[in-house]
C-alpha cells in the first residue's frame, strides 16, 4: 500500500503548532493541577470536619464524572455564570481541575505512607506540624509517589486529546481537521498514534529514570 506522506509535510507547520498546543496545555494542566492537588492534600492533613468533607466531595465529583462533561460544563455552561473562556483557557482550566483531584489522592496516599512512628518521634522531639510535614513526610513520600505521579501525568497527556472536542487546536484537533479536508485519514491517524505513543513512552521512561535516581538513597 503506497502511503502518500506529502499531506503531512505540506501541513507540517500546522501539525507542529498543534503538537505545541498539546504540550502547552498538558504542562500547564500538570503544573496547576499538581499544585492545587498538593494544597488540597495539605489541607486535608489538618482540616476540620467540614473542610475535609468539602474537599472529599470535590475530589469525588471530579473523579466520578467524565472529563468531557466537565469540559462542556466549563466551556458551554460557563458563560451563564459569567465565565466566558477561550477554548484553550477552558481546556487548561478543565485539565487543571481534573488533574487536581487525582494529584490530591496521590499526595494523600503519600502522606499516609510514612510510618506513624516517625511522626510520633518528630512530635516527641518537639517538631511542630508543618516542620514534621516539611522535613519528615514530604522528603520520604516524594520518593514513594513517583510512579503514581508519573501515571497521573500520563493520563493528563492523553486527556489533552479530548480538548479537541471544544475546538482547542491541539494535535488531535489539527490533524483531524487536515484529515477531513484531504481525506488522508490513514496518514493522519498514523501520525496521531505515533505522536501520542512517543509522548506517553517518553514520559514513562523519564518517570522510571527519576524513580531510580531518587530511590537510590532511600532504602527502607
Amino acid at each position: 500500500m503506497k502511503l502518500d506522506l506529502s499531506v503531512l509535510t505540506s501541513h507540517s507547520g500546522e501539525i507542529l503548532g498543534g503538537f505545541a498546543v498539546t504540550l502547552e496545555t498538558w504542562i500547564a494542566g500538570v503544573i496547576i493541577g499538581s499544585l492545587l492537588g498538593l494544597a488540597i492534600a495539605l489541607l486535608q492533613l489538618r482540616g476540620g470536619r467540614w473542610l475535609n468533607r468539602a474537599l472529599r466531595t470535590y475530589i469525588e465529583i471530579i473523579r466520578g464524572t467524565p472529563f468531557l462533561v466537565q469540559l462542556f460544563f466549563l466551556y458551554y455552561g460557563g458563560p451563564s455564570i459569567g465565565l466566558d473562556l477561550q477554548p484553550v483557557a477552558a481546556g487548561v482550566l478543565g485539565l487543571s481541575l481534573y488533574g487536581s483531584a487525582y494529584f490530591a489522592e496521590v499526595f494523600r496516599a503519600g502522606f499516609n505512607s510514612v510510618p506513624m512512628g516517625q511522626l510520633e518521634a518528630a512530635t516527641c522531639v518537639g517538631l511542630n506540624h508543618w516542620q514534621t510535614v516539611r522535613r519528615v513526610q514530604l522528603p520520604q513520600m516524594l520518593v514513594i509517589i513517583v510512579p503514581s505521579l508519573c501515571n497521573t501525568i500520563i493520563v493528563l497527556s492523553k486527556e489533552t486529546a479530548v480538548l479537541s472536542v471544544i475546538t482547542v487546536p491541539e494535535l488531535t484537533g489539527v490533524l483531524t481537521g487536515i484529515g477531513s479536508l484531504s481525506y488522508a485519514f490513514v496518514q493522519v491517524l498514523m501520525t496521531l498514534c505515533v505522536g501520542y505513543l512517543l509522548l506517553v513512552e517518553l514520559t514513562a521512561w523519564f518517570g522510571r529514570w527519576v524513580e531510580r535516581k531518587v530511590g537510590r538513597f532511600m532504602i527502607r
Binding site: E60, I61, G64, T65, P66, F67, L68, V69, Q70, F72, F73, Y76, G77, G78, S80, I81, K158, E159, T160, A161, V162, S164, V165, T172, T176, G179, F185, V186, L189, L192, C193, Y196, L197, V200, E201
Partner: protein
Amino acid sequence: METLRSMMQTLPLLLQAAVATILISLVSLCFAFLIGTAVCAVSFSRSRPLRWLGMAHVHFFRGVPLLVQLLMLYYLLPVLGINMSSLTAAIIAVSFCSSAYMAEILRGGFLGIPPGQLEAAHLLGLSGLQTLVRIQMPQALRLTLPSLVNEVLLVIKASSLVSVVGVAELTRTAQNIAASNYRPLETYFLVGVAYFAINSLLSRLGHLGERRLARAHTS
C-alpha cells in the same frame, strides 16, 4: 422555577440515555475482559514473539488516547470498505482500549499469587489446566476484584467519548438537549449527576461483591 420545570421535562430522555450508557459500557466490558484474558495469557507464554505481541497490544491501547482510537475506527473502516454503525465501532474501540487495562490488571493478579502454591500444586500432581482453573483463577480474581470494579467505573466515564462519533448515549443526549433549551450549565450539571449516580451505584455493588468474596474465603 422555569428552569426546574424544563429540566424535569428532560428527565425521561436522560433516563433512556443513561440506560444506553450502561449497556454500551457493560457490553464493552465483557468483550474487554475476554480480550484482556487472552492478552494476559499470551504475556505468560513461552514464545518470545507472542509475549512481545501481548506487550505491544497493552502499550498501544494504553498509550493512544481513547478518542484517537475511536476516530481511527470511525474514519478508517469506510476507507477499508467496511460498513459499520457508529455504535458497533464505538463498542469495538472501547472494548480494545479497556482490554489493555484488563490484561495488566489480570497479570498483576496472577503474579500476586505466592509461587509456593503453584509448586505445591505441581508436586501434588495437578495438571497445568487444573492449577489454572482451581488455584490460579479464583485467587487472581479475588486479588483483582477492586481493580476490576474500578475499571468498570472508568469505562462508564470513558463511554462519554463515544458521543463524538454520534452514538446516542448520555453525553450526546446532553449536547442535544443543551442545544435546544439553551441551558448548558444545568444540563451538563444534571448529566454529571447522572454519571456520578451510576458510578456510585456500581461502586457500592462492587464493594458488596468484594465483601461477599472475602467472606467466602475466610470461612
